[in-house]
């Protein structure tokens, strides 16, 4: 059992609390981040992730609740005394200083000697591929380089917590995969605790041990990327996580001729051996009748004996093929890791294995089951 590094306890943030435009940006947020863990706060704009980050960093006061870092309550401290290092979304380098001075600036408060400081700057510069621009000024380097320098300034510090706000949004695409790997390695090797705030799930998935999915100021689910993908707690997480997004259909469940059947739109039926679903789950589903059925594009198989679908688009992206087809009165997307040559208008068979089915409550969106077992 690892120690808790950061503990958010029933944190609320309300802007303009007494006015009519009161905005409840963060609602009763409880979140525990273990020491040495990388956690991503993931959500679309306005979901409360940035408010949360700003409260942890101290740029925003908590309306109620407590923030405890390494055993110290920090939510009343000034930002400089929280022992939190932060990389900003805007590059926010000091324009009159060179990149080297910008990065070394963060070390001033640590009172370490010059040679060690230089060594540490050089190391971080190698990591972020900015060695060649260390003596340039921020105005003369590209956006991607500025963002890397900003990251360097945050990562070089020794702090109880590192906050990274959209740290890779501006990075050059061809560098991203390398930098993700190197930064993850760097953080893990030093045992740093980091919180990454992003709207980009690719980034969250790549770097984070656990992801906190937020929407409308509320925490939707907090778990590892694998669990988020395989066992989403509700329809929101299910459709939000995953690229391309999950296919969703409304379906009526029934038992016909000893088969367990989902009737989708346009007369399409998905029939399964009842044994694929646990008996108690079968009863729950039949009692509800109508459910929302989700299946990830990577799990949509194309097979001759499947339900009929008509190809709308088949797009080869080099390392994968995306196929969109008209199916059950709406459209379905299938993704495969190989190349598949299909033309628009081709008829294909679509099959979904019972273990790839996610069922949600049509009214509330809460998950009912994942792959034949209750959620």
């Amino acid at each position: 059992m690892s120690d808790t590094a950061l503990d958010l306890q029933a944190v609320n943030k309300i802007y303009n609390p007494r006015s009519r435009q009161a905005v409840h940006a963060v609602r009763d947020l409880d979140l525990k981040v273990d020491a040495g863990e990388i956690v991503a706060l993931l959500g679309s704009s306005g979901c409360g992730k940035t408010s949360t980050l700003r409260m942890i960093a101290g740029f925003e006061a908590v309306t109620s609740g407590a923030i405890v870092l390494a055993g110290r309550p920090i939510h009343t401290l000034a930002p400089a005394r929280r022992r939190v290092a932060m990389a900003f979304e805007g590059y926010s380098l000091y324009p009159p200083l060179t990149v080297r001075e910008n990065i070394a600036f963060a070390l001033k408060s640590e009172r370490i000697d010059q040679t060690e400081a230089t060594a540490r700057v050089d190391e971080i510069a190698r990591l972020l591929d900015i060695t060649s621009i260390l003596d340039r000024y921020p105005s003369s380097i590209s956006g991607g380089q500025q963002q890397r320098a900003g990251l360097g300034r945050a990562l070089i510090r020794k702090a109880d917590l590192h906050l990274l706000d959209e740290p890779m949004g501006q990075l050059e695409p061809q560098l991203r995969a390398h930098l993700r790997g190197r930064i993850k390695h760097f953080i893990k090797e030093r045992g740093l605790t980091a919180i990454l705030v992003t709207h980009d799930q690719t980034e969250a998935n790549a770097l984070a041990d656990r992801i906190a999915v937020m929407e409308d100021g509320e925490l939707q689910q907090f778990d590892t990327p694998d669990v988020l993908r395989q066992r989403p707690a509700n329809l929101f997480t299910g459709t939000f996580i995953g690229e391309p997004p999950m296919n969703v259909f409304d379906a009526d469940a029934a038992e016909e001729d000893a088969r367990f059947v989902f009737r989708l739109g346009d007369g399409v039926r998905l029939a399964y051996d009842p044994g694929a679903f646990r008996p108690d789950l079968r009863e729950t589903i039949l009692a509800r009748g109508r459910v929302t059925l989700g299946v990830r594009p990577h799990s949509v198989r194309i097979a001759d004996d499947g339900a009929e679908a008509t190809v709308d688009a088949s797009q080869w992206l080099g390392d994968q093929t995306h196929i969109a087809a008209r199916f059950a009165g709406t459209s379905i997307v299938s993704v495969r890791h190989d190349r598949m040559r299909l033309e628009r208008g081709d008829t294909i068979g679509v099959r979904v294995a019972p273990e790839d089915l996610h069922l949600f409550d049509t009214a509330t969106g809460a998950a009912i089951s994942h792959g034949g077992a209750p959620a």
Binding site: Y15, N16, P17, E60, A61
Partner: protein, 285 residues
């Protein structure tokens, strides 16, 4: 942060009141003066307590001014009319000339375009007297002295640069893509100017027109030199109250109140245009 203490609010209120008092006091005092006779105005120490009278306004509107030295005919209503004619026609002409020119300067960068635009603006820097003397001579020779046409022409020195520079900025703020989109849709450049550029710069044109109107209305020196009594605007007309028997402060105050009334009303009416600005929000920055 969003928490402010009671003390902060009180201090902020006091500071704001001081600023408002400082700027509004002269106007407030003028309004008070316009309801007083010369005697009450000139008593020392000045007092806020007096018996209000409408005599100043009556004198202005009827055109007869009674002083100790006798009665005097003044033509204030005519001056007011002159101000309206001069300002409205000057602004109208400046808009007709200036808006297309501003559009040209905003959209077509040609060699020297920046210099021409700056030269036009530089008319605003020169003291009016610099141009007035030669103009007076020329105008007399070609018969433009003491005509509305001549005055409106000279007033372009005030209105045109203002409209050109303000409206150019508004045109530059319109994304060229919006205009390209309209032309690519199949409309000619004339239609694009009328249907896209003009409406989108509308608030800016209104603002520039209003400012030009106020500057034209308040102009003193051009009319003083180039116009005789029957063409003079209110600014010059108010001089008539400096009489041989003394300065008629009450009437001057009333004249000032009457002459700022239209500009004030216009400014209040157009405020909404000025604030609305260009933020119509379809084009992302």
């Amino acid at each position: 942060m969003e928490h402010t203490s009671a003390l902060e609010r009180v201090l902020r209120g006091a500071a704001l009141s001081a600023v408002v008092l400082f700027f509004m006091f002269p106007i407030f005092w003028i309004v008070l003066m316009s309801f007083q006779t010369n005697e009450t105005i000139l008593r020392s120490p000045p007092s806020m307590v007096f018996e209000p009278t409408l005599s100043n306004y009556v004198a202005l509107i009827t055109g007869r001014l009674e002083t100790q030295a006798g009665s005097l005919d003044i033509d204030f209503m005519r001056n007011l009319m002159n101000s309206v004619i001069l300002s409205v026609s000057s602004v109208a002409l400046a808009l007709v000339l200036g808006v297309p020119a501003a559009y040209a300067f905003a959209r077509h960068k040609f060699r020297g375009s920046e210099d021409i635009a700056f030269t036009l603006l530089s008319f605003r820097f020169a003291p009016p007297l610099l141009v007035l003397l030669p103009l007076t001579l020329y105008f007399q020779q070609i018969g433009l002295a003491d005509t509305y046409v001549g005055l409106v022409w000279v007033y372009q020195l005030i209105c045109l640069p203002l409209i050109l520079w303000i409206v150019r900025g508004y045109f530059e703020d319109i994304s060229p893509d919006v205009e390209h989109a309209y032309r690519i849709a199949g409309h000619g450049w004339g239609a694009t100017f009328m249907k896209i550029a003009l409406p989108l710069a509308g608030p800016g044109i209104a603002a520039a027109g209003l400012l030009a109107f106020i500057f034209a209305w308040n102009n003193f020196i051009f009319a003083l030199v180039l116009a005789s009594a029957d063409k003079q605007p209110v600014t010059v007309g108010a001089l008539a109250f400096v009489t041989a028997s003394g300065i008629q402060y009450g009437q001057i105050a009333a004249a000032v109140v009457l002459s700022i009334a239209p500009t004030l009303a216009l400014a209040l009416y157009a405020q909404r245009y000025l604030v609305e600005g260009l933020s119509l929000g379809a084009v992302k920055g």
